[in-house]
Subunit: 541 residues, 2 copies
């Protein structure tokens, strides 16, 4: 028996482009389409010709695809007009895409309320428009908008819309849960009824939204009920709560349900890369908790979990992370025991003998510092520096003898309220002492500017170091005087590396400096920069 | 026929505390437990006594709950030892919590590989440990770890573990999909088999993880199969990909599936607030695309959707957003902003005529300021002051002409590294000008101390004002130079009042001062203190 085939339809560039805060350029669209093509996706919906200049630009010069079929989206013809004379359909015909996807109503209430059209005319609109596309394009699909709500209200009418499209020659009828409110068991029973009414499953597609947190489950339920095409987007982009996330759907369909989705041989193992590349392109922070591909998807924190997973990964991993191009991550934290720290050390390339007394010192030091308020679990770079300092040595690239930061708010001569921050530092690098001063738009920014002023001439590797996030938290809110401040700083460089460091102190400026110091040290250390002589041997902070 | 009851079990403080990057203090845990109790959650799992200092501190002084039962988590006894002599179980007995939750294996492979224990001894470990807790506590549950994987491998053994726990007196056996790899249809058929084997559904609970993006769907499938307790966390916190998100589960169970989950009368409409408050506490950006409660969950972009939704919301909304305390957002013409502001004004006791032109000014000002980075959702006191300033007047209790804050870190004469913060301020109260200086353990603390030094003799009402939390977030992390800082300050007084204020500025000290100013003003205003003459009329800031 051959493996049943399920087709994949990606709408990242059409429905995904509706995401609040997401803006694709035509060049972005072409690049994303090429990466989906390389993965082996069957259909790529590029946009809506005629709806906006970006989509027009994309369709006037579409990327050449080796495998995927490019789809252009549009609406069924307007009421009381022939399909040939419809300007929307005209734009679709002119778009350089072999496949046309036409959305039309399938809920009688929607016809009368939203569109003001008789339900019978709507059926003719579907049939005429699909027939035109079948004639002029190489393939046509009908998006049955609000299919599941429509079916609940009037099953016969909803099915008649689907049948009209297929009889007019549509390759697929796409059952859309437009409002996203349908639950998995309803999807399954509805589709069973559609199939029982004589519509073949291998002409049915499913299109889900995540408004109840079930877009993926709904898509899987639809396949179980016989549907043979699944629509979704990369990372679940889409308006409101997003569309079904293909990155989650694909591994469940293939690894767990045994379907063939036509991916290239390396397609599955490239899912993590494709997911993160899209976030990178859109300048969005990746969801570290994303199923299958998130940085935390195979992260282990609790001490018992870690020792068990090292005995046999099946103890706490539902699949081998390498199957989707992801990897295991061992976190260090309060909860963590010795085995976390050990595997974390191996991960950063520190091969140590578990019985080495220094290892126990690292475990103790991590626990002690976490009790004081450090959070190593979210600050991998600070953990690495701490461990390396205790086990071997980390160069002291510079020593800060003192700093003074002044923040001043006053009315200037023009009567404007101004705030200035100025940092003065005295630092030792090698055998030279430097004193300098710099301004910033806040005390930490000023301190950072002063440090760079001194360090950059000696360590040009710091030129591309950027602080990309800065977070402060008070840890003992009810012990006001004894309150401790924790600062987390995320840094990045031009090669795409990102690392997080942590600083703790009752004084927020002090805590910030500590996190800043770790960030700079980490950058120089990982770049293999040697410390200048005379700065002194490694000190455990 | 009465509505079937499904019990809710929240594990935000135990499994949720495993989330990468999440760190609860004992005070955080108490506050979260109180908010869950107020919602009407049946069981609140507070942590693991004996596992770390935070959980010990929490259980030695637990919050008093009016409705929920507090649960302490632990493991079944060690092999070859009596339950009475087990140190882990001892810690659980000492914890001040009426309910004990004991995790134990139910997969024979796990017993032999992870634990190195004979499967028969594991069954005795479950029975003995549960029996001890039933004797000593008011209620006990058994967490059947890896139940679904265990059932696949050896259904008889998995069921025998569940039966052993129930026969020993456990109120509930919790079927855990520990690795999170099980799909909804597998959950449903497995549970059907367990029920068919004679285990009553009203003693079964479900505990899902989101590793395949199906934690919510799996939980719903379990309820359909007869399970009567659902476990999860707020916002789906939890290790790896998170646990089932109760914020998504609850509305689907109640609004769509017709179950009674025992929430307080206003519980459902407070889901949005509870979800966002937890993010605020953890200093995490809320997921704007979260089902039901995300800011974008009922957002409609321009064009067809908006006009259709205005004709009839059912066109593009699966539920009325007010049912879960959320609101529609029209991204083009923000009609909803106005009614939201109006309802918030009513909430703080400002009865205004909706047609009053000043109301439009409040709406405009809130929109403008939220665009600049203010977050009035989490800062009710600042919103109230802003609205009152625009609609009536708020006294100017003092005017700060200037401040200068110095933070200095250096080695003192004894060779110790010390950090000092010192604030100098010039302020006008009534017709007198004051200049003073004070120290603090950070710049904001110093500024606060200097302000108090000047204000307290004039306004003794400030004596019991305390700053209980301070949070900073950078709002435009990738635009380093243009980055804006948002500071949220939570204050409290001796009567138990708590209020939050917000300040925004490119300079963190400036933003902190703005939030501090609002906090002091709010305290004096709500205490009915009149301003001294000559400080000047109300100014909009």
């Amino acid at each position: 028996m051959s493996t049943p085939r399920v087709y994949l339809f990606d709408s990242t560039l059409r429905d995904g482009a509706q995401t609040h805060g997401v803006d694709f350029s035509a060049a972005d669209k072409a690049a994303v389409a090429r990466s989906l093509d390389a993965l082996g996706i069957d259909y790529i919906e590029g946009g809506w010709p005629g709806a906006n200049p970006t989509d027009d630009a994309f369709f006037s010069n579409p990327p050449s695809l080796s495998h995927a079929r490019l789809c252009a989206f549009g609406m069924t013809r307007r009421p009381g007009r022939s399909a040939d004379n419809d300007p929307g359909l005209r734009a679709l015909l002119e778009a350089e895409a072999p496949v046309a996807v036409l959305v039309g109503k399938s809920w009688d209430f929607q016809c009368t309320v939203a569109l003001g059209v008789e339900p019978e005319e709507n059926v003719r609109m579907i049939a005429d428009s699909i027939a035109l596309m079948v004639r002029e394009k190489s393939e046509a699909m009908y998006d049955a908008e609000h299919f599941f709500d429509g079916f609940k209200a009037n099953p016969d009418y909803a099915i008649s819309c689907v049948k009209a499209a297929l009889e007019a020659g549509a390759r697929w009828a796409v059952l859309c849960d437009t409002n996203g409110g349908t639950l998995p068991h309803e999807i399954e029973t509805t589709i069973a009824a559609v199939v029982a009414a004589g519509v073949p499953g291998d002409q049915l597609a499913i299109h889900c939204h995540n408004d109840t947190d079930n877009a993926v489950g709904n898509s899987l339920a639809a396949v179980r009920a016989g549907v043979r095409q699944v629509q979704g987007t990369i990372n679940g982009l889409g308006e409101r709560c997003g569309n079904a996330n293909l990155i989650s759907v694909i591994p469940s369909l293939t690894l767990k349900m045994g379907f063939d989705v036509g991916l290239k041989p390396d397609g599955l193992t490239r899912l993590t890369e494709v997911s993160r590349a899209l976030d990178e392109r859109l300048n969005r922070a990746p969801n570290t908790h994303a199923p299958y591909v998130g940085a935390s998807a195979f992260a282990h924190k609790g001490g018992l979990h870690v020792s068990a997973v090292e005995k046999d990964p099946r103890c706490y991993e539902h699949i081998d992370p390498a199957q989707v191009g992801n990897r295991r991550q061992i976190l260090v934290s309060d909860q963590a025991g010795r085995s976390n720290v050990l595997s974390r050390l191996r991960e950063i390339g520190l091969e140590v003998d578990p019985d080495e007394p220094k290892v126990a010192r690292v475990v103790e030091e991590v626990k002690l510092r976490e009790f004081k308020g450090y959070a190593y679990d979210g600050a991998g770079a600070s953990f690495e520096l701490l461990a390396r300092r205790l086990l071997h040595r980390v160069p002291d690239y510079f020593r800060l003898n003192s700093f003074r930061v002044i923040d001043e708010r006053r009315w200037n001569a023009k009567g404007e309220l101004i705030t200035l921050s100025e940092a003065t530092i005295k630092a030792v690098i090698g055998d030279a002492t430097y004193m300098t001063v710099a301004e910033g738009n806040g005390p930490v920014n000023a301190l950072d500017a002063a440090l760079r002023k001194v360090l950059m001439p000696v360590y040009p590797e710091l030129r591309d170091l950027r602080l990309v996030d800065y977070k402060v938290r008070i840890l003992t809110p009810d012990a006001a005087t004894a309150a401790v401040t924790r600062v987390m700083i995320e840094s990045a460089d031009s090669e795409g590396a990102r690392w997080t460091t942590v600083g703790v102190s009752p004084n927020v400026i002090d805590a910030s400096y500590n996190a800043l110091h770790d960030s700079i040290t980490y950058k120089l250390f990982t770049a293999g920069v040697p410390a200048l002589d005379n700065t002194g041997a490694a000190a455990a902070e």
